[in-house]
């Protein structure tokens, strides 16, 4: 199979997972246990934490404090934590009757992953006001629009670093500066600023340093680690809504997944240290794909006019439209031909709105959003696979287009 769905998940780095499995099987004790075996496990856990923190250091460089890093059970959980913590802060010290008098406000980009988007909607049903910031047609959120949305009641702002469908890279530093000046003009302290970095870590040079970012979410299985482990970096302590045994600084209770955490740290270290070479490879693949798409009559990259080596896009993720052929149909036909890609645009009418949420937010005409597929790749992807995709897609498109 030609696997071009790396943005969904990645093939695990078996070598790293194997070593982590051996290590964590050897040091199997509960890191919270006081005995020697527990301490050994604890050491392994903390080693992984400092390793991941140093992998993140280039991105967080300019931050005043190194902040804290809590391992979670997924990128989604890392996204939920700061949002759900708001509930606890709101109720704290306030008689429940008056808690509802001032509706807290969230500013969320309209292209967030469901981990943020659905959670924001759920908070909306609990009494939060939400402002969704639409991106421009190029998929990029304008920093000033985020700043304009800030109100005195704004508690948290969330903008993702790299969009999972279009690959659009958001200018986090500029958005952070914009938030700071927007807040200053209202005479308030800047709200919390959460950044979903799931598609960014180990994939692009991520710069969170100048952005006054207060928290950032990461996931292991997007960089060849195992599923079921993520991490939340936070500049200042967060008081989690869900509590328990108090592991991970109280942020994420539950006995730690040492195997997953060790694997995650090792995968991140490998990805970050080889980022330069990987990026070069990605740019070659991206160029070949974008140029190839231009040669397929009728098809085009989404957002329109995306060119190779445009720093506004992650080279690992390319969306392409094939007008006249449902994205779901093409993805199915490609799958039969042994090529795995994905689609946000489910053909089903009942799910149409949801599936096209991100492309719709960009104002993409329906004909294009409906017919879009996402091609995403990784360091193991070979140029030959891109060529195979292009020729197969061209052939299928010609045959199945209506």
């Amino acid at each position: 199979m030609t696997y071009l769905d790396w943005a969904a998940t990645t093939p695990p780095d078996v070598g790293i997972l194997q070593r982590a499995l051996e290590e964590s099987s050897e040091l199997f004790a509960n890191p919270s246990s006081a005995h020697r075996a527990g301490k050994a496990a604890k050491q392994l856990l903390e080693g992984a934490r400092s390793s991941l923190l140093s992998s993140l250091a280039p991105s967080l460089g300019g931050n005043k404090s190194p902040g804290g890093l809590a391992f979670t059970a997924s990128g989604t959980e890392a996204d939920q934590l700061p949002m759900l913590a708001l509930l606890r802060n709101l109720m704290k010290g306030t008689p429940s009757a008056s808690a509802s008098q001032v509706r807290p406000h969230l500013v969320i980009s309209a292209i967030e992953h469901a981990a943020i988007d659905s959670q924001a909607e759920a908070l909306g049903r609990l009494g939060f006001d939400i402002t969704f910031i639409k991106p421009e047609a190029d998929g990029i959120v304008q920093p000033f629009k985020v700043a304009e949305a800030i109100r005195p009641t704004t508690k948290l702002i969330a903008v993702m670093a790299v969009n999972n469908e279009t690959g659009a890279v958001q200018d986090i530093s500029a958005i952070g500066r914009s938030i700071a000046s927007g807040a200053a003009s209202l005479g308030i302290r800047p709200p919390l600023f959460h950044v979903d970095c799931v598609q960014a870590l180990g994939k692009i040079p991520l710069d969170l340093s100048g952005g006054n970012v207060t928290s950032a979410a990461f996931s292991a299985h997007k960089i060849q680690g195992p599923k079921g482990v993520g991490a939340l970096w936070h500049a200042k302590p967060i008081e989690a809504l869900a509590v328990g045994g108090g592991q991970e600084g109280g942020l994420r209770s539950g006995t730690e997944n040492i195997f997953g955490i060790s694997s995650f740290a090792a995968c991140a270290a490998k990805a970050v240290s080889s980022l330069g070479a990987r990026l070069e490879h990605a740019l070659l693949l991206e160029e070949s794909l974008l140029e190839g798409l231009k040669r397929i009559s009728g098809s085009c990259a989404v957002p329109f006019g995306r060119e190779p080596r445009d720093p506004r896009y992650s080279p690992w993720i390319v969306s392409a439209a094939f007008p006249g052929l449902g994205g779901e149909v093409l993805a199915r036909a490609l799958s039969d031909a042994g090529i795995a890609v994905s689609t946000g645009s489910a053909c089903s009418h009942t799910h149409a709105t949801k599936g096209r949420r991100i492309l719709d937010a960009m104002g993409l005409p329906e004909e294009y959003s409906f017919s879009s597929i996402r091609i995403s790749f990784g360091p193991d992807t070979e140029l030959e696979e891109i060529h195979r995709f292009l020729s197969t897609a061209e052939d299928l498109y010609r045959r199945l287009k209506t």
Binding site: G326, C347, S348, T350, T402
Partner: protein, 397 residues
């Protein structure tokens, strides 16, 4: 231990000359569905009695609930024709009903054996008195009781409480065979259920347009077919690969008439298939005016390629009632799974609402689809669902 079910046939009792034939079919259907579990069915005028091993009582209840041709059934106890034995049986019926919340009751007696010493009224009164004494929480209510203790004095005496409704209608096999156009939506399974209740043996046909429609959509239709088989006993599902026919229509037909042309082509294919499998009618889930293609004018055109009668049992049923039925027969939750047949190929922006019969039938003929349709039929895939598959699907032993 043997369980006894008293069965009340319904509509077949209204038949005069043919009653015997209908009765034979009903008994045959019951035997076929109950399978090899060593049951016996005794026939008496207006009543059947089914004896099954207690271990298979869940299967018996399932069969009785789903077998068209019977109005209702009850778990009954059988006893000698003595007052004492009848009272004892009545007590056991009441006991069970009280345990599930019955408070107001009445007793009804039917006595076809006139040699029994007590009259019907006297027997009811005696049993009522007896139960009131035994169960002080019970009160008599002849108008809206929540428990009716039925006593039937016939060859033997039978006592039973609650009568569970059956499917009604006519036993499978009493009417001509129908070929159901099954789409995966909410309506067509309900149409199949309704015709199954009229005694029509069914076969189903599904037009698959891979890759435009997904494998999941086909799986969904297969599951729906199995749910319909619960009512008609068994069926065959024909999956016709229709992509090439659709592509031809898309290429040759006017954009605003693609839906009519596709439906006409499906009807032509169904008609050919029906002839081959010996079906006497075609069944669709169409309902007047529900969508643009289901107007009277459209149905005249889309029905034209079939020389067999087309049954549309939902024609005058509104969506809400159809949904209620779909929920009742367990097809609704399957139908609403998000694998619709996403015929993006065939959703014209402005479909014809009042097309001309002459123009459209001529336009259809000019597409010359018959060879493509024949080709698609030759590639049909056949799925057979027997009653044992139904029982397995419903997890009935």
């Amino acid at each position: 231990m043997e369980s006894l079910f008293l069965i009340k046939p319904g509509e077949i009792l209204l038949k005069k000359e043919n009653q015997k034939e209908f009765t034979r079919r009903l008994i045959q259907q019951l035997h076929k569905r109950l399978g090899d579990i060593g049951c016996t069915i005794e026939e008496y005028p207006g009543r059947f009695f089914l004896f099954v091993d207690e271990r298979f009582s869940a299967r018996a209840e399932f069969v009785l609930r789903h077998c068209p041709g019977l109005n209702g059934f009850s778990r009954a106890s059988m006893c000698p024709k003595t007052v004492e034995a009848i009272l004892e049986a009545a007590e056991s019926v009441a006991n069970k009903a009280i345990a599930s919340g019955a408070r107001r009751f009445k007793v009804e007696t039917r006595r076809s054996d006139k040699s029994f010493p007590l009259g019907s009224y006297a027997m009811s009164a005696k049993a009522g008195e007896f139960l009131l004494e035994k169960y002080p929480t019970l009160a008599v209510d002849v108008h809206t009781p929540d428990l009716v203790v039925n006593i039937e004095i016939r060859e033997r005496a039978y006592v039973y409480g609650y009568t569970e409704p059956g499917a009604r209608g006519l036993p499978s096999g009493s009417s001509g065979k129908g070929l159901l156009l099954l789409s995966g939506g909410i309506d067509s399974p309900v149409a199949g259920y309704m015709m199954a209740k009229r005694g029509a043996p069914l076969e189903c046909v599904y037009f698959h347009a891979y890759p435009y429609t997904s494998e999941e959509a086909q799986r969904k239709v297969e599951h729906l077919a199995l749910k319909i088989a619960a009512w008609c006993g068994s069926l065959r599902l024909w999956v016709i690969p229709f992509t090439d026919v659709q592509m031809r229509i898309k290429k040759l037909a006017a954009e605003n008439s693609t839906t009519i042309m596709l439906r006409s082509a499906m009807m032509e294919a169904a008609n050919l298939l029906a002839r081959r499998i010996g079906a006497d009618a075609i069944i669709t889930g169409e309902s007047l005016g529900q969508v643009a293609s289901q107007t009277a004018e459209n149905m005249a055109i889309t029905g034209a390629p079939s020389s067999l009668p087309i049954f549309r049992p939902l024609i005058g049923i509104d969506k809400e009632d159809t949904v209620t039925m779909a929920k009742k027969i367990g097809t609704f939750d399957i139908s609403i799974l998000p694998y619709e047949d996403c015929c993006v190929l065939f959703s014209p922006k402005h479909p014809l609402l009042k097309p001309s019969f002459a123009e459209q039938t001529a336009a259809y003929a000019s597409l010359e689809l018959t060879p493509s349709i024949e080709e698609s039929l030759s590639k049909a895939e056949k799925f057979v669902y027997k009653y044992k598959d139904v029982l397995a699907d419903f997890k009935i032993e």
